[in-house]
């Protein structure tokens, strides 16, 4: 196939790459930002000690946030709610969707533990009003409540709600909300950088043939097809 695209061979490419200087401090900051955003409090403290990089957030704040996230991941939703409210009462007061998802998770945990009567009471007292207050939650609400209908929940159409991944989803949502309330980005910068790389390569693909990175974990340059 005759191509009008410019071709850049590997040697030329590597030469150009070598001209770019990346500072160690910047890379440390990227790593620190990742550890802080993901909430690895101990790693943050250790990394700080070993490299002298300052985290852009108090370690104590990271630990508070992690306590909430872990509570959700263990299914202790009520505990998580209390902790979030101690941290910042505005978060759940101004985030109806997040609050709904937390209440939804509570119901799921009650069902998982086969506390059906309590679950019914909870659905009526706490979950139904959410649907009344906000019509956009009704569909999700119905899906969740339908768990109560099936005898064998592990085989019903909405069984993915019982998955541990559902807990993770809720935990991530809370984590992001807390970070936002602290004026911190909810995604690590590393994440954005990788997305930028993918986008830049896609753009360049239309104009040139060059050694691209296919596997981000290895970051090896693939030889350009000629």
């Amino acid at each position: 196939m005759a191509s009008s695209k410019k071709v850049i061979m590997r040697e030329e490419w590597e030469k150009r790459l070598n001209h770019i200087r990346i500072r160690k401090e910047d890379m440390n900051k990227l790593v620190m930002n990742f550890l802080v955003t993901e909430g690895y409090a101990e790693a943050v403290a250790k990394f700080r000690m070993e490299t002298g990089t300052e985290p852009d957030m108090d370690v104590a704040m990271i630990m508070d946030r992690m306590a909430v996230k872990e509570a959700v991941q263990c299914g202790n939703v009520e505990d998580a709610i209390e902790k979030v409210n101690d941290l910042n009462p505005e978060i759940l007061d101004t985030n109806p969707e997040l609050f709904f998802h937390l209440q939804q998770q509570r119901l799921i945990e009650l069902i998982r533990n086969e506390k059906i009567e309590e679950a019914l009471e909870f659905a009526q007292e706490e979950l139904a009003p959410r649907g009344e207050e906000n019509q956009s939650f009704l569909e999700e609400l119905e899906r969740t409540v339908s768990l109560l209908v099936f005898k064998d929940v592990s085989n019903c159409p909405v069984r993915e709600l019982l998955d541990i991944s559902q807990r993770l989803k809720t935990a991530n949502e809370v984590n992001a909300a807390i970070l936002t309330s602290q004026s911190h980005e909810k995604d690590p910068k590393l994440h954005s950088l990788l997305k930028m790389l993918i986008w830049a390569q896609n753009q360049l693909d239309e104009k040139a043939t060059y050694p691209r990175i296919k596997d981000f974990l290895k970051a090896t340059l693939e030889n350009p097809a000629v």
């Binding site: 263990c74 299914g75 202790n76 939703v77 009520e78 505990d79 709610i81 209390e82 409210n85 009462p89 505005e90 759940l92 007061d93 101004t94 985030n95 109806p96 609050f99 945990e109 009650l110 998982r112 533990n113 506390k115 309590e118 009471e121 909870f122 007292e125 706490e126 009003p129 009344e132 207050e133 956009s136 004026s183």
Partner: protein, 666 residues
């Protein structure tokens, strides 16, 4: 082990624990109340009804002096701190986005205590209290802050200077909520507040930047003086920092920055007028429509404030495909009512002046969409749909083609005449006023679906805006309509109703009633009999109203009504003459002279036209009438106007003089 406690204490049980003498029990109960109400509007309401707010406010008041020293770490002082923190947090949550809660907190007298606690030595207490006050200030019910008092201004400055985000945020919220007048804006400027806000804009956190943008917009609103002082050379280039924030990564910041820039643009002709910034603002706001949350709900309102009444911006927005984009969002359906309302109003603004915009909108087959919106369950959406309809029905091309006079639109529109909301009624009447100016013969559709009778009913409404808009619609309805239609309207209205509307206490109603008469009697000599019905009720009302016309518009419509009557036969002309010469009290001067001497050329024109009709040579009684007019000094007044700067006046004056010369006048 997952917790599954649903056997919580009942609310009433909780409230009784609040009264416990043991501080630990109290703290736990307060915390439990707080945790039950956060995020839960239903619970807030039920606790409210049980009197929770006064109970918590009472605890706050009792404990206010308990924490005086930040250094005590014993159990007692911990409990005291916790009591303050939890009660403040609970009160803040009651007030968060919940007006009934705000009112309850204010009624319970908690506000002054919260203010006092801002000076508390304990950081957590101050944080909780500042947050609670911020929630109160987000509501319209917040107490008005008096900026003009020196110590209040100093207090505000101390809040803004605080390092704590919640405290400086409170300062900004107070400004955004309470600053209203130019005087207050100037006072804030003089106290150096703008400089402080600007530094928060450039060096603060996300929430501080957002709060600062809102406060700045409030201080700039309608105040070109403050704007030019702010944008002047002393404070660096502050406008550019706001412009930069319009491109910020966070959608809310972009929206608030755009809103601030729009406030500046609208208040001051010197700033932000180049095409680059106009285009940028349009694009940013259109893109913000895509945001799924509150930012996307508010974006169309900001867009409206940018383009409203401004043809140049509407043109630019049209080129940027604004109409397609707005339409695309509505088509998606299941919109939040606020967003739906905003988009409809934005489309209304886009189509308010330019035919190109209306054509574009109508080309998208929107009538069914608008018909749906007219029947929406939300009053704001219904009103916005009517306002949008009013804009597009200004398209004469489509109006003449009878595009709008069809049942899809007319039936839901007429139903809105009975809407429980007055603003919806008025908006529906506005749209109707345009639609009934139908140049085809399809006006009968409107009668068939009961629209005409409804309009007459609304002309009797207690709301003056409904009366005047209903009359406006009737006025347009009978404009150049056929005799049968006009007779139908008149018999439904009756002479006594119409004459009482001419004498209505509201000037706007008087004006529309007179204009309706004008249109009714126009065109056919038989219709002139309307004004003589029931012993000349209407004619008499016109005469009396013209004697004491409070606005030029009333005089204009009244004179044109008389002018049309005077275009009839001898009897009609003599009746008008008699009206013109009725004295009021001791005044010898007829209102005719007053009108002829008016600065408003439209009024002069209308009056001279009437004289033209009274003195037209083909009628036998003309010389006699001319004599009377001459004796009253009216002819010489008219002679003085022979070189009037207004062309309409000049031409009509010359017609009168020409006619008078036909009778041998010098």
């Amino acid at each position: 082990m997952p917790s599954a406690t649903v056997n919580k204490p009942r609310p009433s049980e909780l409230l009784s624990r609040l009264t416990s003498a043991e501080p630990e029990v109290k703290v736990r109960a307060l915390r439990e109340v707080k945790n039950q109400i956060i995020g839960n509007r239903t619970k807030k309401l039920s606790f409210l009804k049980l009197g929770a707010v006064p109970a918590v406010a009472g605890i706050l008041a009792d404990s206010i002096d308990d924490v005086t020293d930040n250094n005590n770490c014993n159990n007692d002082s911990n409990n005291a701190i916790n009591i303050l923190v939890q009660s403040a947090a609970a009160l803040g949550s009651f007030a968060c986005g919940f007006d009934a809660g705000v009112q309850a907190v204010l009624d319970a007298g908690a506000f002054p205590n919260l203010l006092r606690l801002l000076a508390n030595p304990n950081e957590k207490v101050v944080d909780a209290v500042a947050r609670a006050l911020r929630m109160i200030y987000q509501s319209k019910l917040a107490p008005k802050y008096d900026f003009l008092q020196q110590k209040n201004m100093e207090f505000l400055i101390s809040l803004l200077n605080s390092e704590k985000e919640n405290v400086s945020g409170l300062g900004a919220s107070i400004i955004t909520r309470s600053c209203e007048t130019n005087l207050e804006q100037k006072a804030l400027f003089d106290a150096g507040i703008l400089r402080k806000l600007n530094s928060l804009l450039e060096g603060g956190s996300l929430s501080q930047r957002d709060a600062s943008l809102e406060s700045l917009a409030t201080i700039f609103r309608n105040n070109p003086e403050v704007i030019s002082k702010f944008a002047g050379p002393e404070i660096g280039r502050p406008l550019s920092s706001i412009i930069d924030l319009a491109k910020d990564r966070y959608p809310r910041t972009r929206l608030l920055a755009c809103m601030c820039l729009i406030v500046i643009r609208n208040a001051s002709p010197h700033f932000l007028q180049d095409i680059g910034i106009k285009t940028k603002l349009i694009h940013i706001l259109l893109e913000l429509l895509d945001d799924p949350g509150q930012v996307g709900d508010e974006a169309p309102f900001a867009f409206s404030s940018l383009i409203a009444q401004k043809e140049d911006l509407q043109k630019l927005a049209l080129e940027a495909n604004a109409i397609d984009k707005l339409h695309h969002h509505i088509k998606k359906g299941s919109l939040h009512p606020r967003r739906y309302e905003g988009i409809l109003l934005a489309l209304a603004d886009m189509c308010s002046k330019l035919e190109s915009c209306r054509s574009k909108f109508l080309s998208l087959q929107v009538l069914n969409l608008l018909a749906d919106a007219l029947t929406d369950y939300n009053a704001g959406v219904r009103a916005a749909a009517c306002i949008c309809l009013k804009s597009v029905t200004r398209s004469i091309k489509n109006l003449s083609a009878g595009y709008f006079m069809n049942e899809t639109i007319v039936i839901p529109l007429v139903q809105l005449f009975l809407d429980p909301s007055t603003s919806v009624q008025v908006a529906a009447l506005g749209a109707t006023s345009n639609i009934v100016v139908d140049f085809t013969t399809r006006k009968s559709i409107f009668v068939q679906c009961g629209g005409m009778k409804q309009l007459v009913q609304l002309a009797k409404s207690m709301e003056s805006s409904v009366r005047s808009n209903a009359l406006w619609a009737l006025k347009n309805f009978v404009f150049q309509a056929d005799n049968r239609l006009k007779e139908g309207v008149f018999s439904e209205l009756t002479a006594s109703l119409l004459s009482s509307l001419i004498r209505d206490p509201e000037p706007s109603v008087q004006e529309q009633a007179l204009a309706l008469v004008r249109n009714l009697v126009d065109g056919c000599i038989n219709l002139i009999e309307f004004v003589f019905a029931e012993d000349g009720l209407i004619l008499g009302a016109i005469g009396r109203q013209l004697q004491c016309a409070s606005t030029a518009e009333i005089g204009i419509q009244g004179m044109y009504a008389l002018c049309n009557v005077a275009s009839g036969n001898e009897f009609h002309k003599e009746a008008v003459m008699q009206l013109l010469f009725t004295q009021m009290g001791d005044k010898n001067q007829s209102f005719v002279i007053k009108f002829l001497q008016s600065n408003d050329s439209r009024l002069c024109t209308a009056t001279v036209w009437t004289i033209v009709n009274l003195t037209c040579p083909s009628s036998p009684g003309a010389p006699g009438r001319l004599e009377k007019l001459r004796n009253a000094g009216i002819v010489s007044q008219i002679k003085n106007m022979v070189n009037d700067p207004c062309v309409d006046v000049k031409l009509r004056v010359r017609t009168v003089l020409g006619q008078s010369m036909a009778f041998g006048d010098n």
